[in-house]
Symmetry: C2
Subunit: 409 residues, 2 copies
């Protein structure tokens, strides 16, 4: 007997028929002899509707009230799923965040889980019942409802799995696993049976939005085995999916396991800043103060005592970055700002890179062969990223997918 946390996302519980299928899937899991706890998201679309209402009433709404409103999405689903399970003869009961309790910090709207009290969930399991926990929500130090931010139900599920010592956390979603790249870009993308946490983190952070990044971090830290599965298979067979594991569990390490891309990028070049010690601090200090997350940074070779500084950031943060740099213009002393939103960040990822040379040069040569100009480069231990013009996205991804031998039949 294993203890399994099953998490179902918004498309998996989008309507009553889908909720009935989820109930059947849970029944099938129990029939395997497993103990099951469930975590659910809101019905697809429900959260967006609730957010739109809050924003319409006040663009600068109180995050505490936003949380009270938005958390109802998961409250509805967990009650409905408990009813659907009972209709199949399975003893089940819903748990809201404050009932478990899922204790979070006080950052309403983007709260972080501090602790999950496992007592009631364990009691429920011990009594042969299926606890159905509302994802995405908790209770803050002010005794009010908190929410975890977009995709937070993944984190709820992983945190619950860690709290109750589950053998595995199965995340049912609208894709059937993690792919070597976006299957919409190339039909040759292949589902991976296994992926290391670190690779998943890099893929998630550069745009392969299968799991919330924070949930992968938590899974890695707490060593929770996470499996990504499709909720669109039959209730008895969701298909093989992708298992997130520790790097050590992957015997035959591929040098590159995946190609990711992110279009939500923007590039800023600060022209002709004095090339003196402290100028980088002059530029990036104000940006940090304005809560702008800078990603890649390049400083050009100095020329006549001035240099150009180029960096990338999420395109949504561009207006804030510009405002902040213009306010600091006197202190920095640049001549002008050049911004570009028509860029894409393309990354090759793989834990095998640690022990193999030549990954970056293969990337550069492949792109050069296709006539694609690289604007910015950044590397980490298991990733090489480049910024190129957005129009080359598909061409670049396909070429790299082939170059690293990832193409399927």
């Amino acid at each position: 007997m294993s203890r399994i946390v099953m998490k179902f996302g918004g498309t998996s519980v989008a309507d009553l028929d889908r909720i009935r299928i989820v109930a059947q899937r849970v029944r099938h899991q129990i029939a395997q002899g497993d103990e099951v706890a469930v975590v659910v998201s809101a019905m697809a679309g429900a959260t967006n509707q609730l957010i739109a209402w809050c924003q319409s009433l006040s663009p600068l709404h109180d995050a505490r009230e936003y949380d009270a409103v938005v958390a109802t999405g998961e409250q509805v689903t967990c009650g409905l799923l408990a009813i659907a399970l009972q209709a199949l003869g399975i003893e089940a009961r819903s748990f809201l965040g404050w009932q478990v309790p899922v204790v979070t910090d006080g950052a309403h709207g983007t709260a972080r889980i501090q602790a999950i009290d496992a007592q009631k969930m364990n009691d429920c399991l011990a009594a042969g019942q299926v606890p159905v926990m509302a994802g995405f929500q908790g209770i803050g130090p002010d005794h009010r409802v908190t929410t975890l931010g977009r995709g937070g139900s993944d984190t709820s599920a992983v945190a619950l799995a860690a709290a109750i010592g589950a053998d595995r956390c199965d995340i049912y979603t609208d894709v059937d696993g993690v792919y070597t790249t976006d299957p919409r870009i190339t039909a040759r993308a292949q589902r991976m049976d296994r992926i290391a946490y670190e690779e998943m983190l890099e893929l998630a952070s550069v745009g392969a939005k299968v799991l919330q990044t924070r949930s992968v971090e938590l899974a890695m830290k707490q060593r929770v085995r996470v499996q990504v599965l499709s909720s669109f298979g039959t209730p008895d067979d969701p298909g093989p999916g992708t298992l997130l594991v520790d790097e050590d569990e992957i015997v035959e390490k591929e040098i590159v396991t995946g190609i990711a891309y992110s279009r939500d990028e923007a590039k800023v070049t600060v022209k002709r800043v004095p090339d003196r010690p402290g100028v980088a601090a002059c530029i990036f200090g104000p940006l940090a103060d304005a809560h702008v997350n800078v990603d890649m940074i390049v400083q050009n070779v100095s020329d006549d005592g001035t240099t150009d500084m180029t960096f990338t950031l999420g395109s949504a943060e561009l207006p804030r970055a510009i405002a902040s740099l213009e306010a600091a213009r006197g202190a920095i002393g640049y001549t002008r700002l050049i911004t570009d939103k028509d860029v894409v960040k393309i990354s090759v990822v793989g834990v095998g890179m640690r022990s193999h040379a030549g990954v970056a040069s293969t990337m550069f040569r492949t792109l050069a062969d296709k006539g694609i100009n690289i604007q910015v480069i950044s590397t980490s231990e298991i990733k090489v990223s480049v910024l190129v013009a957005e129009e080359y996205t598909e061409l670049a991804v396909r070429a790299l997918h082939t170059a690293y031998g990832l193409d399927g039949a």
Copy 2:
């Protein structure tokens, strides 16, 4: 300065525009120098949608899960109204049932309020904030969400008014007060400025569905001054409405203040039961066991040792009543059951009846003049009710409205 509880029903908060108008109305009340606490229902239609989902998944759903699902309706509205108030510069915060807490018994789906802890609400008011409480919900002894049954938000509002010692509880609804009869039946119906609790109770229980009966009982018991007002006036002027007061406060008592009717009635005649002691118990015992609420009862004059027993009940309970009587046929010993759903109960109500004779005879004569046959009669201290064929509803109501001098210009 007065302390006012303002309660807004589903049509008053049906969409974002209506919620904004409610916020303006609260602002206007505060501008009068009053302290205000607010109670809200779910957006019109929301509760029905949630109930339909529960029923679709399982007709015999777990009432505890039903409560968790259905209570989200008010949770959404109280958060949204708090945001709308803040957008007007009014400090406000939402309170869910479990946060106040509104302590109820454990009868999920039809829970009764046992106590409202006034501490947090009073603190909130003392801090110059407007507490916005979710109506219809509470927390049960099992630490789970409970709901109060249809119209329960009225009761939430009256209970809150009693708990915080409010000077008045204003119930904003889709009618502008309590009328002498249904204005859809006669344009001569008049809004009453005042009505005694007892009269309101009788009108409510016979079908004038302005307030939940339980809320009126509670208001009477706790001596809460309740005002029924229209939410469709301007934010600055809801119009005069109707004030519920103690009988003693009505100086000039009308003999009859209102004519009510209820079409949700059914009549059952049990034919030729043995006329012996204990036969009534044989009939009504099984009905009580089956939770059938019997209303009017008539026992015919005995004839050849047998008699006919006629009674009325809510038409929704008819199938249960028939099943129960058929099961007890051997014990009762009747020849057959006759049922009739095409009946209406018409009632004349007024506290002045206590000191005036002739009310019933005026009713009987008026109906006889119109050729309407009375099938069953029942009376209380402040009410006379008759059962007649449903087709006479409008004719009877109009004739009685005129006969008791209630017609307006």
